[in-house]
Subunit: 223 residues, 2 copies
Protein backbone atom coordinates (compact mmCIF):
# COMPACT_ATOMS: atom_id res chain seq x y z
CA UNK A 1 0.00 0.00 0.00
CA UNK A 2 1.13 3.55 -0.61
CA UNK A 3 0.27 6.79 1.15
CA UNK A 4 -2.89 7.41 -0.80
CA UNK A 5 -4.41 3.96 -0.58
CA UNK A 6 -7.18 3.17 1.79
CA UNK A 7 -8.17 0.75 4.50
CA UNK A 8 -11.58 0.16 5.99
CA UNK A 9 -12.88 2.25 8.91
CA UNK A 10 -16.08 1.87 10.89
CA UNK A 11 -18.90 0.27 8.90
CA UNK A 12 -16.57 -0.46 6.03
CA UNK A 13 -16.05 3.24 5.30
CA UNK A 14 -12.72 3.83 3.62
CA UNK A 15 -10.00 5.59 5.58
CA UNK A 16 -7.05 7.16 3.79
CA UNK A 17 -3.50 6.40 4.87
CA UNK A 18 -3.13 10.10 5.75
CA UNK A 19 -5.80 9.68 8.44
CA UNK A 20 -4.31 6.37 9.59
CA UNK A 21 -0.89 8.01 9.96
CA UNK A 22 -2.38 10.59 12.31
CA UNK A 23 -3.86 7.95 14.64
CA UNK A 24 -0.50 7.19 16.32
CA UNK A 25 0.05 10.94 16.80
CA UNK A 26 -3.31 11.30 18.53
CA UNK A 27 -2.56 8.24 20.60
CA UNK A 28 0.85 9.51 21.75
CA UNK A 29 -0.52 12.99 22.41
CA UNK A 30 -3.36 11.62 24.55
CA UNK A 31 -0.89 9.43 26.41
CA UNK A 32 1.11 12.50 27.29
CA UNK A 33 -1.77 14.66 28.44
CA UNK A 34 -3.24 11.74 30.39
CA UNK A 35 0.15 11.52 32.15
CA UNK A 36 -0.10 15.27 32.87
CA UNK A 37 -3.42 14.55 34.60
CA UNK A 38 -5.77 16.24 32.11
CA UNK A 39 -9.23 14.65 32.02
CA UNK A 40 -11.05 16.55 29.27
CA UNK A 41 -9.79 18.09 26.07
CA UNK A 42 -11.56 19.96 23.30
CA UNK A 43 -10.77 19.50 19.62
CA UNK A 44 -9.65 23.16 19.66
CA UNK A 45 -7.08 22.58 22.38
CA UNK A 46 -5.88 19.38 20.72
CA UNK A 47 -5.62 21.23 17.43
CA UNK A 48 -3.62 24.05 18.93
CA UNK A 49 -1.22 21.75 20.75
CA UNK A 50 -0.82 19.33 17.84
CA UNK A 51 -0.57 22.03 15.13
CA UNK A 52 -3.63 20.70 13.31
CA UNK A 53 -7.07 22.25 12.82
CA UNK A 54 -10.04 21.35 15.00
CA UNK A 55 -12.03 20.57 11.88
CA UNK A 56 -9.37 18.14 10.65
CA UNK A 57 -9.37 16.35 14.00
CA UNK A 58 -13.17 16.05 14.01
CA UNK A 59 -13.15 14.81 10.42
CA UNK A 60 -10.51 12.23 11.28
CA UNK A 61 -12.49 11.02 14.29
CA UNK A 62 -15.69 10.84 12.25
CA UNK A 63 -14.16 8.01 10.24
CA UNK A 64 -14.34 5.96 13.41
CA UNK A 65 -17.66 7.10 14.80
CA UNK A 66 -16.76 10.48 16.29
CA UNK A 67 -15.83 9.62 19.90
CA UNK A 68 -18.10 11.97 21.79
CA UNK A 69 -19.93 15.24 21.61
CA UNK A 70 -18.55 18.43 20.17
CA UNK A 71 -18.48 21.33 22.57
CA UNK A 72 -18.18 19.19 25.68
CA UNK A 73 -14.69 18.04 24.90
CA UNK A 74 -13.37 14.51 24.83
CA UNK A 75 -12.68 12.36 27.86
CA UNK A 76 -8.90 11.92 27.58
CA UNK A 77 -8.61 8.37 28.96
CA UNK A 78 -11.63 7.16 27.04
CA UNK A 79 -10.49 8.71 23.76
CA UNK A 80 -7.00 7.27 24.23
CA UNK A 81 -8.59 3.88 24.83
CA UNK A 82 -10.80 4.11 21.74
CA UNK A 83 -7.92 5.13 19.49
CA UNK A 84 -5.71 2.43 21.00
CA UNK A 85 -8.43 -0.10 20.26
CA UNK A 86 -8.68 1.10 16.64
CA UNK A 87 -4.92 0.84 16.17
CA UNK A 88 -5.02 -2.49 17.95
CA UNK A 89 -2.38 -1.85 20.63
CA UNK A 90 -3.74 -4.71 22.77
CA UNK A 91 -3.96 -7.17 19.88
CA UNK A 92 -1.51 -10.03 19.74
CA UNK A 93 0.41 -9.80 16.50
CA UNK A 94 3.40 -12.10 16.45
CA UNK A 95 6.50 -10.73 14.75
CA UNK A 96 9.80 -12.10 13.54
CA UNK A 97 12.95 -10.01 13.09
CA UNK A 98 15.23 -10.82 10.16
CA UNK A 99 18.67 -9.27 10.56
CA UNK A 100 20.19 -8.79 14.00
CA UNK A 101 22.84 -6.17 13.26
CA UNK A 102 22.87 -2.83 15.07
CA UNK A 103 19.74 -1.62 13.34
CA UNK A 104 17.95 -4.92 13.99
CA UNK A 105 18.92 -4.71 17.65
CA UNK A 106 17.68 -1.13 17.91
CA UNK A 107 14.40 -2.05 16.22
CA UNK A 108 13.89 -5.09 18.48
CA UNK A 109 14.50 -3.02 21.59
CA UNK A 110 12.15 -0.32 20.34
CA UNK A 111 9.44 -2.95 19.89
CA UNK A 112 9.96 -3.96 23.50
CA UNK A 113 9.15 -0.58 24.96
CA UNK A 114 6.22 0.47 22.80
CA UNK A 115 2.70 -0.70 23.57
CA UNK A 116 1.89 -1.69 19.98
CA UNK A 117 0.26 -5.10 20.15
CA UNK A 118 3.22 -6.42 18.15
CA UNK A 119 5.22 -9.02 20.00
CA UNK A 120 8.64 -10.29 18.96
CA UNK A 121 8.70 -14.07 18.89
CA UNK A 122 11.80 -14.87 16.84
CA UNK A 123 15.07 -13.38 15.57
CA UNK A 124 17.01 -14.68 12.57
CA UNK A 125 20.34 -13.73 11.04
CA UNK A 126 22.53 -15.34 8.37
CA UNK A 127 25.64 -14.78 10.49
CA UNK A 128 26.35 -18.05 12.35
CA UNK A 129 28.44 -16.13 14.93
CA UNK A 130 25.25 -14.52 16.25
CA UNK A 131 23.51 -17.85 16.79
CA UNK A 132 22.06 -18.34 20.29
CA UNK A 133 23.04 -14.83 21.39
CA UNK A 134 20.19 -13.29 23.38
CA UNK A 135 18.30 -10.33 21.93
CA UNK A 136 15.42 -9.01 24.05
CA UNK A 137 15.02 -12.40 25.69
CA UNK A 138 15.06 -14.32 22.40
CA UNK A 139 17.93 -16.45 21.16
CA UNK A 140 19.04 -15.52 17.64
CA UNK A 141 18.56 -18.37 15.12
CA UNK A 142 20.50 -19.00 11.94
CA UNK A 143 18.50 -17.88 8.92
CA UNK A 144 18.05 -20.81 6.57
CA UNK A 145 14.98 -21.71 4.52
CA UNK A 146 14.41 -24.76 6.72
CA UNK A 147 14.76 -22.86 10.01
CA UNK A 148 12.48 -20.00 9.04
CA UNK A 149 9.86 -22.35 7.60
CA UNK A 150 9.83 -24.50 10.75
CA UNK A 151 9.60 -21.37 12.91
CA UNK A 152 6.72 -19.85 10.94
CA UNK A 153 4.79 -23.11 10.96
CA UNK A 154 5.20 -23.36 14.73
CA UNK A 155 4.79 -19.72 15.81
CA UNK A 156 2.55 -18.34 13.05
CA UNK A 157 3.99 -14.79 12.96
CA UNK A 158 2.08 -12.31 10.78
CA UNK A 159 4.61 -9.46 10.85
CA UNK A 160 8.25 -9.39 9.78
CA UNK A 161 10.81 -6.74 10.69
CA UNK A 162 13.41 -6.58 7.93
CA UNK A 163 16.79 -5.15 8.85
CA UNK A 164 18.74 -6.75 6.03
CA UNK A 165 20.56 -5.45 2.95
CA UNK A 166 18.50 -4.43 -0.03
CA UNK A 167 19.95 -7.18 -2.24
CA UNK A 168 18.65 -9.92 0.07
CA UNK A 169 15.16 -8.55 0.52
CA UNK A 170 13.25 -9.73 -2.54
CA UNK A 171 13.98 -13.40 -1.83
CA UNK A 172 13.45 -13.09 1.92
CA UNK A 173 10.17 -11.20 1.47
CA UNK A 174 8.92 -13.77 -1.04
CA UNK A 175 9.79 -16.63 1.34
CA UNK A 176 8.12 -14.90 4.30
CA UNK A 177 4.94 -14.13 2.35
CA UNK A 178 4.67 -17.80 1.37
CA UNK A 179 4.98 -18.59 5.10
CA UNK A 180 2.05 -16.36 6.10
CA UNK A 181 3.58 -12.93 6.76
CA UNK A 182 0.99 -10.18 6.13
CA UNK A 183 2.92 -7.04 7.09
CA UNK A 184 6.49 -5.81 6.91
CA UNK A 185 8.33 -3.18 8.92
CA UNK A 186 10.86 -2.65 6.21
CA UNK A 187 14.21 -0.98 6.90
CA UNK A 188 15.88 -2.55 3.88
CA UNK A 189 15.43 0.11 1.14
CA UNK A 190 13.98 -2.54 -1.15
CA UNK A 191 10.54 -1.60 -2.47
CA UNK A 192 8.46 -4.57 -1.32
CA UNK A 193 5.13 -2.88 -2.11
CA UNK A 194 6.06 -2.46 -5.76
CA UNK A 195 6.73 -6.17 -6.13
CA UNK A 196 4.35 -7.96 -3.81
CA UNK A 197 0.64 -7.24 -3.53
CA UNK A 198 -1.70 -8.08 -0.66
CA UNK A 199 0.83 -7.34 2.05
CA UNK A 200 1.12 -4.14 4.03
CA UNK A 201 4.56 -2.53 4.06
CA UNK A 202 5.68 0.21 6.40
CA UNK A 203 8.96 1.52 5.02
CA UNK A 204 11.56 3.29 7.10
CA UNK A 205 14.10 4.60 4.66
CA UNK A 206 16.97 6.08 6.65
CA UNK A 207 19.05 6.97 3.58
CA UNK A 208 16.27 9.04 2.01
CA UNK A 209 15.71 10.75 5.34
CA UNK A 210 19.41 11.56 5.72
CA UNK A 211 19.69 12.89 2.15
CA UNK A 212 16.59 15.05 2.67
CA UNK A 213 18.23 16.50 5.76
CA UNK A 214 21.45 17.06 3.80
CA UNK A 215 19.58 18.93 1.04
CA UNK A 216 17.78 21.14 3.52
CA UNK A 217 20.87 21.97 5.54
CA UNK A 218 22.80 22.72 2.34
CA UNK A 219 20.04 24.97 1.01
CA UNK A 220 19.23 26.64 4.31
CA UNK A 221 19.32 30.35 3.77
CA UNK A 222 18.98 30.14 -0.01
CA UNK A 223 15.92 32.33 0.16
CA UNK B 1 9.93 23.00 8.45
CA UNK B 2 7.02 20.75 7.69
CA UNK B 3 6.15 18.75 4.60
CA UNK B 4 4.47 21.59 2.82
CA UNK B 5 7.08 24.28 3.41
CA UNK B 6 9.49 25.27 0.76
CA UNK B 7 13.18 25.73 0.14
CA UNK B 8 14.88 27.58 -2.68
CA UNK B 9 15.65 25.86 -5.99
CA UNK B 10 17.56 27.17 -8.98
CA UNK B 11 17.34 30.93 -9.40
CA UNK B 12 15.59 31.27 -6.06
CA UNK B 13 12.53 29.37 -7.28
CA UNK B 14 10.72 27.72 -4.41
CA UNK B 15 10.80 23.94 -4.20
CA UNK B 16 8.25 22.08 -2.10
CA UNK B 17 9.34 19.49 0.44
CA UNK B 18 7.45 16.89 -1.62
CA UNK B 19 9.85 17.49 -4.51
CA UNK B 20 12.84 17.55 -2.17
CA UNK B 21 11.80 14.19 -0.70
CA UNK B 22 11.84 12.65 -4.16
CA UNK B 23 15.44 13.77 -4.86
CA UNK B 24 16.97 10.98 -2.72
CA UNK B 25 14.74 8.46 -4.49
CA UNK B 26 15.96 9.64 -7.91
CA UNK B 27 19.52 9.61 -6.64
CA UNK B 28 19.30 6.03 -5.31
CA UNK B 29 17.50 4.83 -8.43
CA UNK B 30 20.15 6.32 -10.73
CA UNK B 31 22.84 4.80 -8.54
CA UNK B 32 21.31 1.38 -9.09
CA UNK B 33 20.84 1.63 -12.82
CA UNK B 34 24.34 3.08 -13.22
CA UNK B 35 25.57 -0.01 -11.38
CA UNK B 36 23.59 -2.13 -13.86
CA UNK B 37 25.51 -0.43 -16.67
CA UNK B 38 22.69 1.63 -18.17
CA UNK B 39 23.91 4.83 -19.83
CA UNK B 40 20.72 6.55 -20.98
CA UNK B 41 17.25 6.60 -19.48
CA UNK B 42 14.05 8.32 -20.56
CA UNK B 43 11.63 9.96 -18.16
CA UNK B 44 9.10 7.33 -19.28
CA UNK B 45 11.33 4.44 -18.28
CA UNK B 46 12.23 6.14 -14.99
CA UNK B 47 8.53 6.73 -14.36
CA UNK B 48 7.60 3.15 -15.04
CA UNK B 49 10.36 1.73 -12.85
CA UNK B 50 9.86 4.23 -10.02
CA UNK B 51 6.02 4.12 -10.08
CA UNK B 52 5.79 7.84 -10.85
CA UNK B 53 4.57 9.65 -13.96
CA UNK B 54 6.96 10.97 -16.59
CA UNK B 55 5.33 14.37 -16.30
CA UNK B 56 5.92 14.47 -12.54
CA UNK B 57 9.58 13.59 -13.04
CA UNK B 58 10.02 16.31 -15.67
CA UNK B 59 8.24 18.82 -13.44
CA UNK B 60 10.46 17.88 -10.51
CA UNK B 61 13.60 18.26 -12.62
CA UNK B 62 12.44 21.61 -14.02
CA UNK B 63 12.80 23.07 -10.52
CA UNK B 64 16.52 22.55 -10.94
CA UNK B 65 16.96 23.50 -14.58
CA UNK B 66 15.68 20.36 -16.35
CA UNK B 67 18.86 18.27 -16.78
CA UNK B 68 18.79 17.63 -20.49
CA UNK B 69 16.55 17.29 -23.47
CA UNK B 70 13.23 15.50 -23.54
CA UNK B 71 13.02 12.72 -26.07
CA UNK B 72 16.73 11.96 -26.07
CA UNK B 73 16.71 10.58 -22.54
CA UNK B 74 18.98 11.51 -19.69
CA UNK B 75 22.62 10.53 -19.35
CA UNK B 76 22.49 8.34 -16.22
CA UNK B 77 25.89 9.22 -14.75
CA UNK B 78 25.49 12.92 -15.49
CA UNK B 79 21.96 13.07 -14.05
CA UNK B 80 23.08 11.19 -10.95
CA UNK B 81 25.93 13.69 -10.58
CA UNK B 82 23.64 16.70 -10.98
CA UNK B 83 21.14 15.41 -8.44
CA UNK B 84 23.94 14.50 -6.05
CA UNK B 85 25.28 18.04 -6.39
CA UNK B 86 21.84 19.49 -5.63
CA UNK B 87 21.44 17.30 -2.55
CA UNK B 88 25.03 18.13 -1.64
CA UNK B 89 26.39 14.62 -1.21
CA UNK B 90 29.96 15.86 -1.61
CA UNK B 91 29.55 18.76 0.77
CA UNK B 92 31.26 18.64 4.13
CA UNK B 93 28.62 18.91 6.81
CA UNK B 94 29.97 18.09 10.23
CA UNK B 95 27.63 16.18 12.52
CA UNK B 96 27.48 15.26 16.18
CA UNK B 97 25.55 12.28 17.58
CA UNK B 98 23.83 12.70 20.93
CA UNK B 99 22.87 9.36 22.46
CA UNK B 100 24.98 6.26 21.83
CA UNK B 101 22.51 3.50 22.70
CA UNK B 102 21.53 0.83 20.17
CA UNK B 103 19.64 3.26 18.01
CA UNK B 104 22.46 5.82 18.15
CA UNK B 105 24.95 3.14 17.17
CA UNK B 106 22.77 2.00 14.26
CA UNK B 107 22.34 5.59 13.07
CA UNK B 108 26.08 6.31 13.33
CA UNK B 109 26.91 3.18 11.33
CA UNK B 110 24.31 4.08 8.72
CA UNK B 111 25.91 7.50 8.34
CA UNK B 112 29.21 5.75 7.68
CA UNK B 113 28.00 3.80 4.67
CA UNK B 114 25.89 6.43 2.92
CA UNK B 115 27.45 9.01 0.63
CA UNK B 116 25.54 11.94 2.12
CA UNK B 117 28.09 14.71 2.66
CA UNK B 118 27.35 14.42 6.37
CA UNK B 119 30.37 13.41 8.40
CA UNK B 120 30.27 12.27 12.01
CA UNK B 121 32.79 14.20 14.10
CA UNK B 122 31.67 13.57 17.66
CA UNK B 123 29.53 11.26 19.82
CA UNK B 124 28.11 12.19 23.22
CA UNK B 125 26.15 10.24 25.83
CA UNK B 126 25.19 10.97 29.43
CA UNK B 127 26.15 7.45 30.47
CA UNK B 128 29.69 7.67 31.92
CA UNK B 129 30.17 3.92 31.32
CA UNK B 130 30.22 4.56 27.56
CA UNK B 131 32.98 7.16 27.81
CA UNK B 132 35.95 6.53 25.50
CA UNK B 133 34.31 3.50 23.89
CA UNK B 134 34.88 3.62 20.13
CA UNK B 135 31.92 4.16 17.81
CA UNK B 136 32.73 4.33 14.09
CA UNK B 137 36.27 5.47 14.88
CA UNK B 138 35.15 8.16 17.34
CA UNK B 139 35.53 7.95 21.09
CA UNK B 140 32.27 8.56 22.95
CA UNK B 141 32.39 11.66 25.19
CA UNK B 142 30.39 12.34 28.32
CA UNK B 143 27.52 14.72 27.56
CA UNK B 144 27.82 17.76 29.81
CA UNK B 145 27.13 21.39 28.93
CA UNK B 146 30.84 22.17 29.18
CA UNK B 147 31.91 19.23 27.00
CA UNK B 148 29.40 19.83 24.25
CA UNK B 149 30.10 23.58 24.20
CA UNK B 150 33.85 23.03 23.94
CA UNK B 151 33.34 20.45 21.17
CA UNK B 152 31.02 22.67 19.13
CA UNK B 153 33.37 25.66 19.43
CA UNK B 154 36.25 23.53 18.23
CA UNK B 155 34.61 21.36 15.55
CA UNK B 156 31.76 23.63 14.40
CA UNK B 157 29.21 20.89 13.62
CA UNK B 158 26.04 22.07 11.85
CA UNK B 159 24.01 18.86 12.15
CA UNK B 160 22.97 16.92 15.25
CA UNK B 161 21.69 13.34 15.32
CA UNK B 162 19.42 12.96 18.33
CA UNK B 163 18.91 9.43 19.64
CA UNK B 164 17.83 10.42 23.14
CA UNK B 165 14.60 10.14 25.13
CA UNK B 166 11.84 12.61 24.37
CA UNK B 167 12.03 14.19 27.84
CA UNK B 168 15.64 15.24 27.34
CA UNK B 169 15.25 16.67 23.86
CA UNK B 170 13.92 20.19 24.43
CA UNK B 171 16.89 21.18 26.58
CA UNK B 172 19.46 19.42 24.41
CA UNK B 173 18.02 20.93 21.20
CA UNK B 174 18.02 24.40 22.73
CA UNK B 175 21.65 24.00 23.84
CA UNK B 176 22.72 22.70 20.43
CA UNK B 177 20.96 25.50 18.53
CA UNK B 178 22.75 28.06 20.69
CA UNK B 179 26.00 26.31 19.72
CA UNK B 180 25.37 26.62 15.97
CA UNK B 181 23.43 23.49 15.00
CA UNK B 182 21.24 24.18 11.94
CA UNK B 183 19.73 20.77 11.27
CA UNK B 184 18.55 17.81 13.31
CA UNK B 185 18.12 14.16 12.40
CA UNK B 186 15.63 13.59 15.14
CA UNK B 187 14.81 10.10 16.41
CA UNK B 188 13.57 11.36 19.78
CA UNK B 189 9.79 11.76 19.22
CA UNK B 190 10.00 15.31 20.57
CA UNK B 191 8.59 17.86 18.12
CA UNK B 192 11.58 20.17 17.67
CA UNK B 193 10.05 21.99 14.67
CA UNK B 194 7.04 23.07 16.72
CA UNK B 195 9.24 24.70 19.32
CA UNK B 196 12.30 26.00 17.52
CA UNK B 197 12.23 28.02 14.32
CA UNK B 198 15.03 28.51 11.80
CA UNK B 199 16.35 24.98 12.08
CA UNK B 200 15.60 22.12 9.75
CA UNK B 201 14.34 18.96 11.40
CA UNK B 202 14.12 15.56 9.77
CA UNK B 203 12.04 13.39 12.06
CA UNK B 204 12.21 9.61 12.15
CA UNK B 205 9.39 8.49 14.37
CA UNK B 206 9.68 4.75 14.82
CA UNK B 207 6.73 4.50 17.21
CA UNK B 208 4.33 6.16 14.77
CA UNK B 209 5.64 3.92 12.02
CA UNK B 210 5.13 0.79 14.14
CA UNK B 211 1.61 1.80 15.18
CA UNK B 212 0.69 2.54 11.55
CA UNK B 213 1.88 -0.95 10.65
CA UNK B 214 -0.12 -2.40 13.55
CA UNK B 215 -3.29 -0.62 12.39
CA UNK B 216 -2.89 -1.82 8.83
CA UNK B 217 -2.16 -5.41 9.79
CA UNK B 218 -5.11 -5.42 12.19
CA UNK B 219 -7.45 -3.97 9.55
CA UNK B 220 -6.12 -6.00 6.66
CA UNK B 221 -9.05 -7.66 4.97
CA UNK B 222 -11.64 -5.30 6.47
CA UNK B 223 -12.77 -4.38 3.00
Amino acid sequence: MTDDTIAAGKNGRKVSQYVIRRLPKYYRFLDEIAAEGEQKISSFEMASRMKLTASQIRQDFNHFGGFGQQGYGYDVIQLRGEIGKIIGVKNQNRAVLIGAGNLGKAVAMHLGYVDSGVQLTGVFDINPDLQNIDLCGIKISLFTNENIAAFCKRERPTIALLCIPKEATQLVASTLISLGIKGFWNFSHYDISANFKDVFVEDVNLTDSLLTLAYNVNHNGDD
